[in-house]
Symmetry: C3
Subunit: 159 residues, 3 copies
């Protein structure tokens, strides 16, 4: 019996456009029968933070998580954000075209068995623990776990 | 007979520097005998837009394509653009070193059989159809088509 | 005897956060027994430039290397640099968590046999020769060399 093909995605960027690209690939791959893993690290952690915000210890980390609050509602475009106008426009066009929102993409991914992991080191750096993340996130894992997945994957991308 | 090795590149970023990196890899790969596919998505679509501009329907999309006009002539650097000075400098240095321009790189890629695809979903989002793109572009395809190529590729990169 | 698994990383971005992600993966891969190659190109060259600065010929290139001076000490974050405050904060948090600095990561990578290459074409474009780079850098190589490595690698990422 042939093994299921794997795809592993590093989600490094935390912009609406990168999130969209990542979840489009993840959901398409899963619907083609691939086993998909997503590793959220650095700014990418913003995509899977709870929308209601995060409490973290220490002044610097609290400040960082205030400025860098995250959550799908707060993702902005990497270009043409224009104080919200460009990002709002993009969300409007996504709706018009019936392209799922990031929230819907996350739910679809979960339903299709896509695994979502938060990078332990980045979490340490940003003062985040499991309570910072949405319920769809499976686990906090390190770089070695990611490489263990990626070495078996047909497709690995750094997004 | 061994199968030809494949390389598949997602061209997500639309800056001069990312375009240069992508076409350098694509052309080098093709000259080494690889079958190369490039999937232009999101800002990357700017690289393959016609230089003469794009007509799109709807006020918002028209506005987006005005601000985000694209075409090889309008690509700028992701850093040190400095209102055109940095980008102009880079182009000058490329010429001095006889590094091909992006237009020349696209022609070389085409001549070497590199396939160039525009992502259907991004095109929908940005109000673009086939008429927006240069003649070297082969087709509009979806994410499933890309993943079908990438799963057979030795090298897949998200640029 | 099975061949050693390979990983090849294109280091295109020259920010502190991308450098951190790249060296975390490279060092983890090497410690798992992988043969790791890093190809520094474009802004990524800044990561491996000597901290004491670079002399290059020609006014434009001198100007470019003045603005784009590079060296591990000068790497900044791709977001929240905030005139040094954000970057300083990040470095402070890295220290607190005993995450190695980029200098330490480079030394660890070297000690573990990670190969570090500078892209010949980018070096030409930016007026850099071998004397611009730290002693840990192995060689200047072209895109064909990179693709030769990547085609044999289990994991290739564009960072």
């Amino acid at each position: 019996m042939p093994e299921t093909e794997k795809m592993s995605l590093v989600m490094f960027s935390g912009d609406l456009d990168h999130a969209l690209a990542g979840f489009m690939l993840a959901n398409t791959g899963a619907s083609m029968g691939m086993e998909v893993s997503m590793f959220f690290t650095f700014w990418g952690l913003n995509i899977i933070k709870k929308n209601e915000g995060v409490k973290s210890k220490g002044f610097l980390k609290r400040m960082l998580n205030f400025m860098n609050r995250g959550g799908t509602k707060r993702l902005t475009m990497s270009k043409f954000h224009m104080m919200g106008m460009g990002t709002g426009m993009m969300k409007g066009m996504m709706k018009d075209l019936k392209i799922p929102s990031i929230d819907e993409f996350i739910a679809m991914a979960k339903a299709q068995g896509v695994k979502m992991y938060a990078c332990t080191t980045s979490c340490g750096l940003m003062g985040l623990d499991e309570s910072a993340f949405r319920s769809e996130v499976d686990e906090m894992v390190g770089a070695a776990f990611f490489l263990g997945e990626a070495r078996k994957a047909k497709i690995s991308l750094f997004i």
